[in-house]
């Protein structure tokens, strides 16, 4: 690309093969040869499956009969690579988990990339490889996609949007409005790992043992829970942005019930608690990317907890509270001191304190 003036890239295509370009140029999003090469040399080999290979304008899918669930999510995380994962795993697992907690078996994903001019192809390849591996682990296929390129300085390297389709299981009715007084509240593992992993990289905080993101696909774990407990599971959610507190508040409001949690029972890694203490944050508001919250009928608690703890992603599962008919729409915690406090939804992001 020439340095003088502002060239018009709208119909531009560079003749050089992919390997000769170490970084993304405007032409990769131009619909020409460069874009095709990106598909042929990068996306197709990584995501290969029959629906994608047609390379049509739309993937044609056979989902049989039954009800479908659909979800979409955009990923703009910084840094793109962090301990425990990258934007690639997040983009696949995030949409897979949204489908899974809705009671669906995730099947197909789309993947759209918004790339910044100058973004190293080696990094894009690493992200795509991570997506391919995450999709294989979650047993979903990436069947359609798109690439756009924005000028240098107009993006943050790489943004990804994924949308997903899943098939709802027969006889399973879960939803955020189905929590009932008496239900037990279970969480599948430690909270706050993802958010603090990101923050410690972003802020250059170093701990003896680095905090790793919990990023993982939960559809396998959730399938086993539903197998074990069936319709005794009333609601499920993955507490991502806003953390456990926001998720529980949403369910309290959607179901018109109160939720009480026992604060000392919350599973929090020591290093995550330390990092939170250091920054003046509360782990209940910190994001998770591989955890689910379950609202289950009390008689099903042993079966669900047993199933969770037998699964590698649920080893630290815990019962953290219950649903009540009191204080509707509110989340109340019993503190270690034996007092009660309300845990509200945060207004925006948590802000690190001065001192």
């Amino acid at each position: 690309m020439s340095d003088d003036g502002t060239p018009d890239f709208s119909n531009w295509s560079c003749p050089l093969p992919l390997a000769d370009y170490p970084t993304i140029v405007m032409g990769h999003g131009g619909g020409g040869k460069l874009g095709n090469e990106l598909v042929e040399h990068l996306f197709l080999p990584a995501f290969r499956n029959p629906a994608l290979e047609n390379l049509g304008d739309a993937a044609v899918l056979d989902l049989g009969s039954g009800r479908l669930a659909m979800s979409t999510d955009s990923f703009v995380v910084q840094p793109l690579f962090f301990p425990g994962g990258s934007i690639g795993e997040l983009a696949v697992n995030g949409t897979v988990n949204d489908l899974a907690v809705s009671g669906a078996e995730p099947r197909y994903l789309s993947a759209s990339f918004i790339l910044e001019e100058g973004f190293p192809l080696s990094r894009l390849a690493a992200i795509v490889a991570a997506m391919a591996e995450a999709a294989a682990t979650a047993a979903v296929r990436i069947v359609t996609g798109d690439t756009k390129v924005v000028e240098h300085g107009h993006g943050d390297g790489c943004y990804i949007n994924t949308a997903g389709i899943g098939v709802l299981r027969q006889g399973i009715l879960v939803g955020p409005h189905r929590a009932q007084p008496g239900d037990a509240v279970l969480v599948s593992g430690t909270i706050g790992d993802h958010g603090m992993a990101i923050m410690s990289v972003r802020e250059g905080l170093e701990f003896e043992s680095p905090i790793r993101s919990d990023c993982a696909a939960l559809n396998g774990l959730i399938a086993e829970v539903l197998e074990a407990a069936g319709d005794a599971v009333h609601a499920m959610r993955d507490p991502t942005r806003g953390g456990l507190a926001s998720t529980l508040n949403e369910i309290a409001q959607a179901s018109g019930v109160g939720i009480e949690i026992d604060e000392p029972s919350l599973p929090v890694r020591a290093e995550v608690q330390s990092a939170c203490d250091l920054l003046g944050l509360d782990p209940v508001y910190v994001a998770n990317e591989g955890k689910a919250v379950f609202f289950v009928a009390p008689e099903a608690v042993p079966a669900v907890l047993g199933t969770l703890r037998a699964h590698p992603l649920g080893r630290d599962a815990a019962r953290i509270g219950q649903v009540t008919a009191q204080h509707k729409g509110m989340l109340v915690a019993r503190t270690a001191m034996g007092a009660n406090r309300v845990i509200p939804t945060q207004i925006g992001e948590q802000l690190p304190r001065i001192c």
């Binding site: 608690q273 009540t324 009191q326 204080h327 019993r334 503190t335 001191m337 034996g338 001065i354």
Partner: protein, 379 residues
């Protein structure tokens, strides 16, 4: 950092609370100076564990809350200037100025950044020689050493593009102002542990003597706070008025001497306006003559600031301990963390925000049925 969990032990806390119930024979009003302590008391429900006769009054020790509106407006004006990189601790971003907050300035294209240390801002200045990097240096004696070090380093490295917008405030003059105010009800103080980790507590015996009040250096974890309250009540019951250290694992009598030496070099004592309270003589620090060139107020010459506080906001009364947050007519109505009228509703250390966030606007009846009614929440 495992040691922190040991100071959050519920059983020991209950035992300490029972001891306070046994030793307290009369009503006492105790002020915790520091906003971090207010936050911890309300979050953990420490006040609910105390006898009904012991009232905790929340002091003016939240640096976000007491930073004058005029300085917030100056910060907004500087941050909005092209070529400026404005750095701040996170919780200053949402503090409302007269017309906007730093988030809005950022949204409108201002280069506003959250940093965790003023030394990071110095690094930004080194890496961005074409930008004017300004750090918003607010806080009590706790944050002052790092701010002083940032200016000290900037001077040593000959940085022409780093400056400090400084509004430091000091604890001892605030205690004097509270004790000297008509209608004061405070009978004893929990001193801010972090402030004393820097300054020691050699400044306080004259105050204990002058006003006949116990002053107990206190930490921030539940057991720290209960120990501080217990020792304060013991002194009050025995008619003693001494400075006592209940935060020995961090605080020494002398404090951090090298830090104090640097502070004396970089800063000089000045009269300071406290938001909601007014000017307290000799209650703050500004950059000393030798470092005046790094003063953002001098460098940017912002004029024409006309501040206007919300007439509905009673944060001054809250900061003086004259009213509890929920007693303000605007609390939870016109004023919420989403639409704060005053800084006490913004900062996580602000008393109003602590009351709002932890549901202290609800009656005990509304909270009961949490199935877990505290044995101490009978009051």
């Amino acid at each position: 950092m495992k040691y922190l969990t040991e100071f959050r032990n519920g059983e020991i806390a209950q035992r300490m609370a029972r001891e306070i119930h046994q030793i307290a024979t009369r009503p006492w009003k105790i002020m915790e100076v520091c906003g971090g302590q207010t936050h911890s008391i309300i979050k953990n429900g420490i006040d609910q564990m105390l006898p009904a006769t012991i009232e905790m009054i929340h002091g003016p020790g939240c640096p976000v809350c007491v930073t004058p509106l005029e300085l917030i407006d100056k910060a907004l004006a500087i941050a909005a200037q092209p070529g400026v990189m404005f750095c701040s601790f996170g919780d200053m971003l949402r503090v409302p100025g007269t017309e906007a907050d730093l988030f809005q300035v950022k949204g409108a294209g201002g280069d506003v950044r959250v940093v965790y240390s003023p030394l990071d801002a110095v690094e930004l200045a080194v890496r961005n020689p074409d930008k004017q990097v300004v750090f918003f240096g607010v806080g009590f004696e706790t944050t002052a050493p790092a701010n002083a070090m940032s200016v000290h380093l900037a001077k040593r490295r000959g940085l022409k593009n780093f400056s400090l917008l400084v509004s430091h405030v000091l604890v001892p003059p605030a205690i004097e102002a509270i004790m000297g105010s008509p209608g004061n009800q405070v009978q004893g103080f929990l001193l801010a542990g972090h402030v004393c980790s820097v300054m020691g507590y050699w400044e306080y015996p004259p105050l204990a003597e002058k006003y006949g009040i116990p002053l107990v250096v206190t930490g921030f974890e539940p057991l720290d706070l209960l120990d501080g309250i217990r020792r304060c009540v013991m002194q009050l019951e025995a008619g003693r008025h001494e400075v006592e250290n209940a935060y020995e694992r961090i605080v020494t009598f002398e404090g951090n001497r090298p830090a104090q030496k640097l502070l004396a070099e970089v800063f000089e004592v000045t009269d300071r306006a406290w938001r909601g309270i007014g000017v307290i003589p000799k209650s703050g620090w500004r950059l000393s003559e030798a470092y005046r060139a790094f003063d953002a107020e001098e460098r940017f010459h912002i004029t024409g600031i006309h501040t206007e506080e919300s007439p509905l906001c009673h944060s001054g009364d809250v900061l003086r301990g004259a009213i509890k947050p929920a007693e303000c007519p605007a609390f939870g109505k016109e004023c919420t963390p989403r639409h704060p009228l005053g800084a006490t509703m913004v900062s996580s250390e602000g008393a109003c925000a602590a009351y709002y966030n932890y549901g202290r606007f609800l009656s005990a009846g509304e909270l009961a049925g949490a199935g877990a009614t505290s044995t101490f929440s009978k009051r």
